[in-house]
Every structure is written in C-alpha cells, then in structure tokens.
C-alpha cells in the first residue's frame, strides 16, 4: 500500500485525505488525533480560564461581594481540576507529542494507533463527566480532593468529579504506553538513542512518569469513592483511617505530575533554542539524561507538600533534602540552553520569545520552589499566595509558555500555513507582561500572609490583588489575540514550505502538512540531532522568505 500511494500523493496530505466528520472521529492517524486533542483542549482551557476570570473579579475588592464563599470555592476547584487534569497534563504530549513523535522517529504512526484513538474517547468521557459535575452543582474540595473533607463533609459532586479524573488518567496511560513502545521499537534506520531530538527524550521521560504514577492516583481516587459512597474507613480518622495517608498517596502521583506538565515543555524549548540559535544543543547527553533524572528524582519528593500536616518532622527532613536534589538536573538544563545560545546566531521569532519566557519564568518558579522546600520557610509560606504564585510560574510560565512556543514553532508543519509573525510577537509580549503582572504580586501577597482559597481579605492587600486581576485581563487578552490570529492563519496565512525555519529533524524533511503516511520514502538518519553545521536537504526552498514575513 505504501508504495502504491507514494507516487500519486503530490498535494495530498493528512488534512485533505478525507473530509467527512466520520473520517475524523474514526481516524487512527496520529496527526488527526493530535488535532482533535488540540480542539478539545482549547475548549477545556476556555472553561478553566472563565472560572479564573470570575474569581479574579471577585478578588478586586476585600469584601466577598460578587460571589458567595461556596461559589468561590467551586470556581477555584473547577479552575484547578480543568486546567490540571484536562489541559496541562495532556497539553504537549497529546497534541504536539501525538502529532510529532512518530514523525520525529521516522515512522508512519504510533505503535498502537487504535489505542491512540481510544485514548481520545476515554479523555473526552472523563472530561464530560467532570464537566457534568461542574455544571450540575460544582465541586468545592479543591483540585486536591483532600480527605476527610472530600469523603465525609463536602456537599457537592465529588464522586462525579473523581470519576472524571480517574477516567481521564487512563487516557494519559494509553498515550504514554504508545510513546514508550514507539520510541523503543519504531525508530528509523540510523536513528540511535543519542540521535533522537531532545523533545523525544522529554516525551520518553514524561511517559515513564505517567506509567508509573497514574495508576497510584487512580487507586487513590477509587479509595475516595469507596469511603464516600460506602463509608469504608481508609482516610477518615472517625472510621479508623488516616487523612495524611491520602496526602501521601495523592502526592506520590501529583508531585510527579508537575514533571508530566513541565518535562514536555523542556523538550519543546530544547528544539526551539537549537533552531533559533542555529547551534547544536550544548551538552546534548546531559540534557537528555537530566530529563530521566527529573523523572526519577521527581518520585522521591512528594512529602514536601505535607510539611505542616501531621507528617513526622524526620520524614519532612528527608523530603526537604531530596527536594533540593531535583533542582540539580533542572539547573543543568537551564545552563545548557543558555550555553547553546552563547555565540549562536540568534533570531527572535515568536517561538524563540516563548522559549525566552520559559527560561526566565520557569527559573523564577524553580527558585521559589527552593524557598518552599526549606522546612522553616515553608511553615510561613505554606498555603499562602506565595505557593500559588510559585506553581503558576512553573506551570503557566513553564508549561504553557512551552506549549505556546511549540504550537507556533510547529504550526506551519501542522496546518501548512504560517501564522502572522508580527501579531505573534506582539501577543507573546502581551502574554509575558500579563502573566508577570498577574502572578508577581502574588509572591508579595503570600509573603505578607494572604492565605490561598479565601474570597475575602484584609483591605491592606487590595492594591496587590487589583494588580493581579489587571494582569489576568492582559493575559486573557493575549490568549484571545493568539486564538484570533491562529484561527485567521488557517485560511489566510501564507503557505508554509516543508521547512520554514530551516530547522533540523525528520519532521522538517516531509511536506507541510505531512502526508497521511508521514514520509513518501522511509527516511534514513545520517546525522546527529541539531546538525546545524550541515545543510538541510529541505532547507533551500523557503527559509529566507519566512524571515521577511517577520
């Protein structure tokens, strides 16, 4: 079949291969599944974002005058559940990973294409359950579902939301399994482990975390269900359980889940920085191994979420010590990206701006993580806005910036169209400014003692809260602007060549958008990744014109 179609498919690509709705809903093409994930995630992002808009408006004034306290609790819970389980965790793996990973390793599809399609349906089922829980009365436990509140006292749709998160977990397991097998078994001839793009290494490390961690949170969520529905004592002290046991089991997954959200972004940033500096990544093996190190060490640190619970002080000391360790591989990466740019030929297109945003914001997020992993300072900062600011710097400043950078970088490959560079640069700056205006004041708020998850606060905090809300508006405007010009470019954008950035990597050696079978001729790899000293086989056709569009 591959030989039969290979000659006749000039102008045919995965988007125009078939046109019916059913051809999308029943597709096993990893590229189409990636695009389906993109559309679904945008919807979830809008839902989660709408909740944030409402509670940021409430926080404009010290009095709880816009929302009742219960509504406020439900809104931040909704924001957390939707953004974490239904946007950040699947964002890069399910969209960019699904689309690019098989092309990057030079194969036709993932190892189990039907499982890949099933993962999208499972994800949507989980998402719909969570959505029903939200619109049918809401959930007020916080995204962490802490017991015994969630199992005994919360008077909201906990079980439905827990089921949604439980089911969505299986979708990430399916995707991760697909990636691990694909990377191990389906690499193109000549593509050795150390010739893989660092994005693939990051996807591999992420998939390992997903495979080892997600079953634990699934079982933990089942335990909530069992205790809440049948009164079986696991976590409730009144029934002989231990609430801190829930926190152990929950964070055993949910801390590594932070790395599920950030490792893929690190992979994206490696690709972008190499391309827009025209240089091989400095210390390739260190960056590759540091992804694995983060995946492993990330599993040893979860107790730092529980320093002020009744967790033993001695366990706290061990977890604090181990947490400092995870900063080492992260710092290696940041150093190596910086060194990659040194004496590079840097150009500032939108993807590179997002990568810069990632570097700065993620570093701030990471360094404030060290404050929080220090036992004594954590006693002061625990459950304040300092923590809120810290994890938004990591997850939005890191995770989302990486996702947006990757989306712009590979947009020509995915859609066959260039986005308007000027608007993209403007939006990237707006998003960067809006993000900092939103979350930097929250470090101050938290340091001065503003606890998280309250809809009322002392009047002294109002100025900082107004700054934060203003920043959120700017940030929201930036996102909408981006949605606008990306949507516009689908129809009116300049047609992209196979390799508009003159980048290296197998995904740039096939046409944009790629044909259904990815490569008309099965590729053979002869260079290491990021061989920017060699001419690319596809480079001459289009890269100077892409510069002029900026």
């Amino acid at each position: 079949m591959s030989t039969a179609t290979s000659t006749a498919s000039e102008g045919k690509h995965y988007l125009n291969a078939k046109h019916t709705v059913l051809s999308w809903l029943l597709t096993v093409d990893h590229k189409r599944i990636g695009m389906m994930y993109l559309v679904s995630l945008v919807v979830f992002f809008l839902i989660g974002g709408a909740a944030a808009v409402l509670f940021r408006l409430e926080l404009m004034t010290p009095a709880g005058d816009l929302l009742r306290s219960e509504t406020y609790n439900k809104l931040f819970t909704m924001h957390g559940i939707v953004m974490i389980f239904f946007f950040l965790i699947p964002s890069i793996p399910a969209v960019l990973g699904n689309f690019l990973l098989p092309i990057m390793v030079g194969t036709r599809d993932v190892a189990f294409p039907k499982l890949n399609l099933a993962s999208w349906y499972v994800f949507m089922l989980g998402g719909i359950l969570a959505f029903v829980a939200i619109v049918g009365g809401g959930v007020d436990t916080g995204w962490t579902f802490y017991t015994p509140y969630s199992t005994m006292y919360a008077n909201s749709n906990v079980i439905l939301a827990v089921c949604g998160a439980f089911i969505a977990g299986f979708s990430s397991i399916m995707t991760a399994l697909n990636f691990v097998v694909t990377i191990h078994k389906m690499r193109a001839p000549g593509l050795t482990w150390f010739r893989l793009p660092l994005f693939v290494w990051a996807m591999y490390a992420t998939s390992l975390v997903v495979l080892l961690g997600t079953p634990v949170v699934a079982i933990t969520l089942v335990m909530i269900f069992v205790e809440r529905a049948f009164g079986l004592g696991i976590f409730n002290p009144a029934l002989g359980g231990d609430p801190v046991l829930f926190q152990h089991l929950f964070w055993f997954y949910s801390h590594p889940a932070v790395y599920i959200m950030i490792l893929p972004s690190m992979g994206v940033v490696s690709e972008i920085i190499a391309c827009f500096s025209r240089r091989r990544i400095y210390g390739y093996k260190f960056v590759a191994y540091s992804s694995l190190a983060i995946a492993v060490i990330g599993f040893f640190v979860w107790g730092h979420h529980m320093f002020v619970s009744s967790q033993s002080t001695y366990a706290g000391m061990i977890f604090s010590f181990l947490t400092f360790f995870v900063a080492v591989p992260t710092a290696i990466k940041v150093l190596n990206w910086t060194m990659t740019m040194y004496k590079g030929s840097i150009s500032l297109e939108a993807p590179m701006l997002y990568a810069f945003g990632f570097l700065g914001l993620f570093t701030i997020g990471g360094m404030t993580g060290l404050f929080l992993s220090t036992l004594a300072t954590d006693i002061h900062l625990h459950d304040t806005y300092f923590v809120v600011a810290h994890f938004h710097y990591v997850m939005v400043g890191g995770g989302v910036m990486g996702f947006l950078g990757g989306l712009h970088f590979w947009w020509p490959k995915m859609t066959g169209r260039m986005y308007p560079e000027g608007w993209a640069i403007f939006a990237a700056i707006v998003i960067f400014v809006g993000f900092n205006l939103t979350f930097f004041p929250q470090f101050q708020l938290g340091y001065h003692g503003m606890p998280r998850r309250y809809h009322e606060y002392p009047a002294d905090f109002q100025v900082l809260h107004i700054m934060s809300t203003a920043g959120a508006s700017v940030l929201g405007f930036g996102y909408l602007l981006m949605a606008g010009y990306l949507g516009w470019s689908l129809k009116f954008g300049k047609k992209a060549g196979a390799n508009p950035w003159d980048a290296r990597g197998l995904e740039w050696e096939t046409s944009s958008p790629p044909p259904t079978e990815n490569f008309l001729v099965p590729p053979v790899v002869r260079h290491e990744a990021y061989a920017y000293e060699f001419e690319s086989e596809t480079s001459p056709e289009s890269h100077p014109s892409s510069e002029s569009s900026a």
Binding site: H248, F299, F300, S312
Partner: protein
C-alpha cells in the same frame, strides 16, 4: 509478538499451585507466628504473584526489556511504601519533649485566642510556643 506456545498442562499446574498456596495462606492464619505473621503471609503472596506474572502473563517468555519494566514498577511501589513509612515509623520520635504536640485542652488560653480563626494552625502555635 512471537511467544512460544505454553502447553495447557503448565497453566493447570500453576493454577493448582496457586490453589495450594491459597489454602496454605488460610492455614497459617490459624497459627500465631508473632512478629512473623506478616512476613509469612507476604512471602506466600509474593510467590503467588510471581507465578501469575511469569507464567500467566508470559513475562518468563518475554524480552528482557519487559522484565526491566515489570521490575521497575515493583521498585517504584517499594519507593512509595518505603518513603511513606519514613513518616509513619518516625512520627513518635522526638529530639526533646518540647517537640511533642500539645493536646488541645492544654494549650494556653491566650494562644488559643490568637490562633482561633485559623483552625489547625492553633496546634502549631501551641507547640512552638514552648
């Protein structure tokens, strides 16, 4: 994947072994081994799990890479249990008596009043106040 065909008799033998081991688990439960109660029960359970994983789930006939993957999941389980136990085993250790959390009723009234609105933080304030 090319697996060697496993004869049905092998499956039946493993099934029989699992049944015997189940009966053994029940039998030893009637004897009080003291400290070794858990050790004995867990040993039998681990043997049963190994039989299931290696024969029924074909790990014995699979590539070494799959052994590594199955093994790492066991290691990860041990990490989870082990580090959780660092908490449970050391909760009662104290460097000095001042570290012992005060029961609620013995916290001085003025401390309670200061900490009143914020629930459990009262215990923290009480214990560090000494």
């Amino acid at each position: 994947m090319e697996h060697p065909v496993v004869p049905v008799s092998t499956y039946l033998k493993i099934f029989a072994a699992l049944m015997v081991l189940t009966a053994l688990t029940v039998a030893v439960a009637f004897i009080d081994w003291g400290f070794f109660n858990d050790v004995v029960a867990m040993t039998i359970a681990v043997i049963k799990a190994l039989l299931v994983v290696s024969v029924f789930m074909h790990l014995k006939y699979s590539a070494r890479l799959l052994w590594l993957i199955a093994g790492s999941s066991v290691v990860w389980f041990m990490v989870m249990v082990g580090l959780t136990l660092t908490d449970y085993r050391s909760r009662d250790w104290l460097l000095h008596e001042g570290m012992r959390p005060e029961p609620w009723h013995s916290v001085p009234a003025e401390v309670m009043q200061d900490a009143a609105p914020s629930g459990h933080n009262g215990a923290e304030a009480g214990s560090t106040g000494h």
